[in-house]
Point group: D4
Chain length 242, copies 8
């Protein structure tokens, strides 16, 4: 083994035994400190949250059930921590970023797409972005969407959340010249295969410029849109240096 590998050990992280908290990531990649909650016990989430918060950064816990928030809140260690119910997210904003000059439109096809759209919104906002939620403008009533065309055409990047058949991403993609981040929610019954049908629709989009996040992954759509918007708005506003 080379000397290089020896030295890589010196990068900062904190070993909690069950988790290896990477305090360097925020610096290295410009992303917020995030905990993805499924599969972790409440005790583990609280401990990781504490470790992240102790550095003074903003902390986001996604897919969090309400009782997890209550456990966090009851520790009284995290001033200002709040639960975003629609987004199923816990938010601790210790330093205010932004606001961005340009808002990121988040467009949904229907009301049932809201939880994923809200997760994208919370994620973008804690990273300092302005957002503009345009709700329930699916392709079965095109005039609802077309009324927003100008706003969409001014954006640097757009998030589209559309379950069922997911056709909205293609239609939006055909109207604009900026990249579209498409996120398929696992809504609907029948042959939706838990969001898989919408995922395929978006991957096969005939409109160029449409790329896709995982099923239900509003967080990923929010992060990627932020990274794009931030750089266009005037270079990276985060503090990190690579």
């Amino acid at each position: 083994m080379t000397e290089a590998m020896e030295q890589l050990r010196s990068l900062p992280f904190e070993d909690l035994g069950f988790a290896c908290v990477d305090h360097h990531r925020q610096i290295r990649t410009g992303m917020p400190e995030v905990i993805y909650c499924p599969g972790k016990t409440t005790e583990q989430i609280v401990e990781i949250f504490g470790s992240l918060a102790a550095k003074g950064n903003n902390v986001l816990a996604t897919r969090a059930q309400e009782h997890v928030f209550e456990a966090l809140a009851s520790t009284k260690r995290f001033a200002g921590v709040r639960y975003e119910k629609a987004a199923r997210a816990i938010v601790l904003e210790q330093k205010k970023l932004g606001p961005s000059k340009t808002a990121i439109p988040i467009v949904t096809a229907g009301t049932a797409d809201l939880p994923v759209a809200e997760e994208a919104k919370v994620t973008a906002e804690i990273m300092g972005q302005q957002t503009d939620l345009i709700c329930d403008v699916g392709v079965a009533g095109l005039h609802r969407l077309l009324g927003h065309t100008k706003k969409l055409q001014k954006a640097n990047v757009i998030i589209v959340v559309a379950g069922m058949e997911g056709a909205l991403a293609s239609v939006v993609g055909g109207l604009v010249s900026c990249p579209v981040m498409a996120a398929p929610p696992s809504v609907g019954t029948g042959a939706t295969f838990g969001g898989g049908a919408a995922l395929l629709t978006m991957l096969n989009s005939c409109a160029a410029g449409v790329v896709v996040a995982n099923i239900d992954n509003g967080f990923s759509a929010g992060v990627t849109a932020t990274l794009i918007n931030r750089k266009i708005d005037g270079g990276d506003s985060h503090d990190g240096k690579n």
Copy 2:
């Protein structure tokens, strides 16, 4: 952007924030005002229901749990609203349409197919159609079906709801000269893949004239059959003009 797109904004809809209610759709497409409930909160359903009912139209809420109906009923704002338990539908009939001259037969292979058949029935009836429910005449006892042959051959369009292996659609399709709307329910255990096996059977039907609605989508079968029956019976009976 062209002037045309500017003008498209003027089409009527009502923005509730989380939903964008399209009052123009009933005029434009001749369909009832419908709320698909899964993925919406009870509060959202009640608010959308109110917005739709306020226009004086008939309103249908599909896949509705009973407690949603109770929340609607307890508002006392919707006189005559009722819950169709077998169909899992909430129905508000503010103007009586029909009845159609010809009934739409709705044929099921087994008792477990009833919920989807009932959804198709409620949908067709609120759009002014007469229906004729023929239940439990699956292909393992052909004589039960063949006794209904004459009635089926007089229809303008037939709905077939058949889970498990879904073979009934092909057999009915081979007996008649009208189009067959096949709807596969997600019933049965084993390698049914939540209705997927019946869906494939129906798509691959060797009987021409069979087309398919989504798994469990009695609503779609009911709407499409109504659109066909209404036009054959003597032109479109709905009030809309395109």
Copy 3:
């Protein structure tokens, strides 16, 4: 066994050994005599074609390779038989049906959808229908489709052929009040799964009134649209009595 089953033997068909040609079907169901070619040898196709043609009816052979047509033509037994290359169909029109009063629009999203659209067209036309092929109006350039809105809104039934992500069916469905027969072609590469992605999009369409034919099944879309259009245009124009 009952007497009824005994008597069912008397319905007319012709047993060729490898095929059991059902001359009664045309009377019973109002469909053309059709041979689905895949899996049959050229010799079998020629023999079945001869049996069907001998009754004086129109005959259609779908998914036929060109050398099959050449084998048929070289027998010199079928005056006027022709090969529709784009549709991969062999057509023998022995009696002229129609024309229907109203044309059936056949709408495609892209050029690669043409073979399936052409199969639907040939099928509808041999059954006496006028058709109106509207080509390459996919959702990435909505203005191309919207220019045809009036024509689409006057139709009794519409066929939509759209591969890749198949979103066109939903958009058309949202513009009109007639039923839409959606047929997904097996075009495209990537995660299209041989037309499966477009099939799922169409099944999950958020626009009511959209029903689906099998992948690549332009024939089924053509037959079903014809059955609907024929009945609306003024009752069944075929000769059969049920």
Copy 4:
């Protein structure tokens, strides 16, 4: 390791290096000597065929391409060997078995199902069974099938070969009181998934008494039907003792 395992070595087989020919199997299980050709080179097939034929038994090679037969025939070592083209099988009948008292009906839905049906037929016949091929009686023209009802109800066991949607197995199963061996062929295009759709239909059959062989496996259906028919007709007619 026990003494028992030591002694198991003494059972007869012949090691060809690339194949371990089990001459004991015919005695032990009452099946013919069979070579499944796919994945084997022509040289390997010829050598295994020779090893099997040398024992004086009947030999069957399934899924054999014609050039394999030609290679076998050109050795001039196998008197009377023949190629069953429709079944894609090579047959060497060195001792005549049967005929069985009762014939096994082999029912197909369409002409394209013939290759699988012929494989079942050749298999059953080399094992001494009479067969009765009933071709192209799919469910879209029920009267063609119903004309054969008496014959089917007299059988000890029935083989049904039905591709596309595979509904014929259920319909036959509902008419008779004997077991039905269903074999789904990989015919058809669209969402047939190489026979998978028909396989699912047959597995989910609502008619009890229907069991299923693998896709395209006419051999398995033929063997199993023979084992059943042979025992019912008067005990096992093969020479083996277990």
Copy 5:
């Protein structure tokens, strides 16, 4: 329509509105009266059960939850009705059939396969068969199975129930000369896909004479094995005439 179809109406069945009870089936196909419970309400099951029992036949309700049995029992209308908990079946034996001369071995790979094996056992026994349950002899400990070889080789037909990788069916099939009915249970975790992995193993069995029932379908395996065993043991012992 022909006279034959008219007459088919006269076959006996009883229309309960939501179900069309086919009293002719027991005569026609020699199977017991059976209710498949999933998807039916308790009220529907009780009513169908009553209709079937009134004819004096044996009645079997499969996949029945215990509270359904309690509802049936509390009516006090069905003397001797009992709940077979391991098989999840309700049994009403009004006339004693059998016993068969030869027992049907039911072989399981593991303890978790028992519910499906018990369903097969209850089914075969109500149809008059003797059974012999051989439990937990999976292929990871071959000597447990080999100890039963003689018994297996004397059978007319064998049922094998084996989840996880389902290899037991092939091993048993290689030891015997009678047909093997393989039933894959939906047990196990990991990449078992709800019994699908075992289903594929059984379909692809390299041992000829193995045919397959649907996932978890002990009933189908039991019925088919009974039909085979009954005919071999000395002709059909049921009362019906076809």
Copy 6:
């Protein structure tokens, strides 16, 4: 229908019968004129190519077989047209765009990923981007990748093309703070499912900021990366106005 829809007809496109060439798209969305070749005949491609070239724009034909290029070249109508063999693309560059200030790194895991990477490269370059191809730095030899870390961390956006298990996208995503466009090629054998395995790996990436293009869709990755890079580099350099 509203006046708005009437006016939408006036947007420019050219109807070739089999194709509806959208000359407005380049203006509206800032993308090059592109022909996706699969499913189109050579004649159709030549005609569409001519229609696009006549406007003086750059033209790109993707997934083009070499004989299509030869047919185009032999018309002598397109000066400077060239075939990019590795990318399987035909390129006609009639106006030189760019070059961009910042290059887009295109990273591949192995040599077999090159065709998709080359398609992305050709696409980005015809849109005026500089690119930097980093080849064969898959995760089994991390030091090959880590040597490029600085270059990657300076990029505005990165394209990662990685077949087989597709793990490279996650590793790159963890090293940088810019968005990563991941494109899974359909390379490899075994359980790769035609690129589906790599697609899933990329969708499930634990590194935030990774979004995904369709299998083999280097074009989509190239377009999206260009849209991002162009805006960051100093606003949109294309001529269009929305």
Copy 7:
């Protein structure tokens, strides 16, 4: 049947009726006595546990719910029995094996992978192995993993547990020269397909020396790693002789 098969009956096992406990297996294969709990009733588990424990061996019950442990403990028959909550395992260690000279590293990508890793750990330890759990070192923060490189390169065999996209197995495999046992947990949401995505990633690993256990199967990874480590450390330390 041969004499050999007769003698195989003499191998020791204990028939409990519903289970056939193979006391010979521990001798024959060197594995611990193990009960896989899903699908077994608590009563069955207790009885099998008692039968195994009576031989004086170590006993392990995997995927055990806590109430099963409580039922076992309340019998007071099993001194020292304990519940390993994180591993969901019941452990009875009646004879102490090991410790092995070399530890087996068990590496996880994230905290949610812990239950599967703990099952592997408990399994290896009851078989006498030392283990070294390295937690939460997924590929999005490579420096966390690289800090452990030396330790990994000294191992005889490594277990990698990594859900979501499962890329860690490839990265570890590229750093070491010993075999890697990869186990994909069924964690994560979106298109993870219950661990199937990680399973595919691991199967398609571009790093040679990576083999795969079933989804969630920490037990299998633990057993196989132990068999390897034990033989390398100085021959098989278990008591059995084959």
Copy 8:
């Protein structure tokens, strides 16, 4: 970026433009230099082969078509290079390793499994291992396998190659106390899903100690078995130091 990352650049590899040849890997991981041919052009393979051979190491090219070997041979640069036709591999053995003390048994279920088994054999042998190929001992004739029991029980590790239903891996796993590397070939027709059925069987094996390589991946099974056997036989015989 840290200093560590800077230094990682110094590890040796050779950049050919389209490939980044990692000469360090052989030292680091103890594996042979290997080229996986699919997706690479003949020119690329020859150039990479030359780069690898120039270091004096053994070189292996897997899944190589014969014309690739001919291109290599015709360069006359690689003395002693040979083509292993059955394994589809090109072998250049420049230094003789081994032989190992203990042979690795490679067991196949049928003749069609040979190509994958031969790839495993060639791989193990070029790494210095003795192998013992046991062919065509599938579970339908257990006595053929049991005759090899002693030999299998003496092995340090066993490779099992078994297509179709893949049951052989479980049976072998139940007989021995060493790890089993199972490799599923993509042989067979019907519902084998290109080796997927055998893959699932092996993953779900009820015999502990069975781990799985990718479909058709004899190379991976050969490498992993070698890594295990080499360490047990007396420590690593390769020259590398980690």
